[in-house]
Symmetry: C2
Subunit: 490 residues, 2 copies
């Protein structure tokens, strides 16, 4: 039994639009929240509260601290940590070619970047991570095992969707009717589906905090056969589904070329959408597509920073919300952001939309933003009844923020400043599945010092930055996107 005493919690929003805070005592037993008592409430044992002296458990001092449910980092690619800061400002289709040139190829690096991603997510309020995991060719099973090892070591709740495809990179760029030769992808569709079945069998252990998702990269590089195989696997093992969706205008054009309809219509037709499906980006959807997202109860994972960094555009998040579409936040891979800070994603992912609608009544408030990041993230994983809110019976995935930290002072509105400010080193404690893995601002389960040393050992400032992949796709990209043709990149 753990008893968190005198913590500030946000209980709702008043008629004046201001958040209503209360101090509360929250009890955790095993993996669950078992009691919440508002300190203003009369009487004892409300909501099953036991006195901490009776329970004999641990008492945590929550004074001058804010307790929130943990956020879900609902879309990232952990091994991009090795490439962060490296790729110059380029749109997705060219950025990814550069990315391929600098891919980490050692499973030990994948283990380390999983730890790094978990640590940065935890220290910015996240208790779950959805890792759309890039696989090392020829070491696919080792890649997944390495990431699982990293996440188990740290103790963050992890949802791992091995990033699969069955078409090679140039297939992802529209042709505008030109005949284009595209080499076969390195692995056949059926082999990829077998790989996925093995990964599920070896690693899908939701009760231990490790879940596997089916996660074809997206319509731009995947056949219907691959999507269908993933749907079957998902139905068979009750797995959530994930993919990128219409991140760029080029993908919108490509979908029309491939299917003669929008990507969303196509995904609905083949049965990929639904309550357990979360889709990263969703920038270039039509009004009709928005309706399909709402009707199928699919979740949008908003990755505002990579959408800016790659020039993808602004996802129509206020429209999603108006239609009742569930929206959560992701950091996206660290090569397109280039951090893993959930509070940054939440801040930019909420204020960015204020420029898309002159009526401020539709803007996302800080209170709504944290709900999107916690309850919204949980819902996108089919776990709204299990996590994402501060309620009795939910998983104890909780974060305690230090309100005496300089970046959260002066005392104004704790959630307002957490979301709209630039909080630094503010996570005091974090629990996942009832286990405390951050204490006094430090991760307890894995050595951050060793991580730093290993990151240094494995890396070196890239002297030779010659890129191989970009020249193969740049001319066609510029042509189909209507950009003036130039030689090389300067």
């Amino acid at each position: 039994m753990i008893t968190i005493q005198n913590a500030l919690i946000a209980v709702g929003v008043g008629e004046d639009g201001a958040i209503d805070y209360q101090t509360a005592t929250v009890q955790i037993q095993e993996d669950r929240i078992v009691a919440i008592q508002l300190d203003s409430a009369n009487g004892n044992n409300q909501n099953g509260l036991e006195s901490s002296s009776e329970s004999g458990g641990e008492v945590v001092d929550g004074r001058d601290k804010l307790l929130l449910p943990g956020f879900v980092n609902a879309h990232t690619h952990s091994s991009e940590l090795w490439q962060r800061g490296l790729v110059p400002p380029l749109p997705l289709e060219l950025w990814i070619a550069d990315l391929y040139d600098f891919t980490p190829l050692d499973p030990e690096q994948v283990y380390l970047s999983a730890i790094g991603t978990a640590v940065e997510t935890l220290l910015s309020g996240g208790t779950s991570v959805v890792d759309h995991l890039v696989l090392i060719p020829g070491q696919e099973r080792e890649t997944v095992a390495a990431a699982v090892r990293g996440y188990r070591e740290v103790g963050i709740r992890a949802f791992i969707g091995p990033l699969i495809q069955d078409q090679s990179l140039p297939a992802g760029i529209p042709t505008k009717g030109t005949e284009v030769q595209v080499a076969d992808y390195l692995r056949a569709t059926q082999a990829t589906l077998e790989l996925m079945a093995d990964v599920v069998s070896a690693h899908h252990r939701p009760e231990e905090g490790i879940s596997v998702l089916v996660a074809p990269t997206g319509i731009q590089l995947c056949s219907d056969e691959l999507f269908q195989g993933c749907i079957e696997l998902s139905n068979q093992h009750n797995l959530c589904r994930h993919a990128h969706l219409l991140e760029t205008r080029a993908q919108q054009l490509l979908a029309q070329e491939k299917y003669g309809c929008s990507a969303v219509e196509h995904l609905e037709r083949i049965g990929y959408l639904g309550e357990r499906t979360s889709l990263a980006h969703c920038v270039w959807l039509s009004e009709a597509d928005l309706e399909i997202m709402a009707r199928t109860r699919s979740t949008v994972v908003h990755n505002p920073l990579s959408n800016l960094r790659l020039g993808s555009g602004i996802a129509p998040v206020l429209k999603y919300r108006a239609l009742g579409v569930n929206v959560s936040f992701g950091c996206d891979g660290a090569a397109s952001n280039d951090g893993q800070d959930m509070l940054e994603a939440i801040k930019i992912g909420s204020i960015l939309h204020n420029i898309t609608d002159p009526d401020y009544h539709n803007w996302i408030t800080p209170f709504e933003a944290i709900q999107m990041a916690s309850a919204g993230g949980a819902k996108g994983l089919g776990l709204a009844d299990q996590m994402g809110s501060l309620s009795v019976g939910q998983k104890a995935d909780l974060v305690l923020y230090d309100l005496n930290n300089l970046s959260l002072l002066p005392r104004t509105d704790p959630v307002g400043l957490l979301v709209l400010g630039r909080p630094t080193n503010v996570v005091h404690s974090a629990w996942v599945d009832g286990k405390q893995i951050v204490t006094a601002g430090s991760v307890q389960t894995s050595s951050v010092e060793r991580l730093r040393e290993e990151l240094i050992r494995y890396s070196g400032y890239h002297k030779d930055r010659t890129v191989q992949g970009r020249p193969l796709v740049e001319a066609r990209y510029r042509e189909v996107m209507g950009l003036p043709l130039v030689h090389g990149y300067s």
Copy 2:
């Protein structure tokens, strides 16, 4: 004499677009950089380098560190620190009404928020701050003196522009021809100009690191008489000029109502623009206005975060750059951001524009972004020959970043990751005017611990958030902006 040895510096950009780094030894004598030697260079004493043993001075170990010129936080309002996190998502014209309801009224608070602003600026790479300082009514001189005291204590280079106006708040909202009664402003134009003359006389000491700017808030609340008085004062004392300019669409409408032309045309006509004039925001300028900005060599201060937070829009920064207009970065006041982190402003202020131009050749690179923040900031203050670049003869306003910090690992591209990542606690050392004021990540000149205590002592979570000002302007705002009329704010 201070000798910084073995620091990484960014010397330029290669043909492949990658930044060229060298390790270097940099020497500081009094307030100036007196020598820079690239460690790859042959021979001794290049650029006047003395051996540190001869000089007998201090030696700083720059290994695994990046040395950059300090950034200029080129537009902020320091005392908004007291209101950060507080104002809900609202457009400027309503946000400011809420802001007025929670203004700090004690000069001691102004002293503390100047320190807080200086500390957060320094710890995110800034060595100069432009404070468009909100004055406490009736204690205007005390307000300026308090801010000056704070900046002198910390030792940051400060440019203080007392925020002046001579029209009251409702005058800032367009009328669309309706007769509107606006109360007189609390202080007459002439009294304000006398106040400014006093402030210049009392505090303008550029050689001591404190400069006064003339800084009418903007066309929305200032008469031509006030602008003219400021121009005279600026000419008389060689002061830089500052103002807000076309932050919102409402201001664009208002300028047409007031002048029958654009705000930029009007400011050019009255002679306010020029090389020593920096203008915050510049979101709603026409193509003709852009040409005027270029022709007059005025500087744009880009405040990307407040422009998003207040829904003001995206400043056409790529167009400014294409026309050769100097652009620098500001955090803006902490009630509209709500932090003072220069690296955050630089990151968002560069990647935000990738969505405004499909041709990535025009996007701002990380190297260009740091130049905008340093040399661009200096140029906007008429000091390009004095500071903002790492060159012999310039002021020693320098920042040394710890490249072994987790958020700057792995080793990829230091400037790329500094700008595009989410650097946390990365400033190891900072010098202003040759004096070291940050060492090993800590401000040496002022107690951050005491600041924290004072911020706590002066504040308390606002229980009563009843706002007074907003109802006076909200109905008219919604009407002139074409928003559906509603009662109250929910």
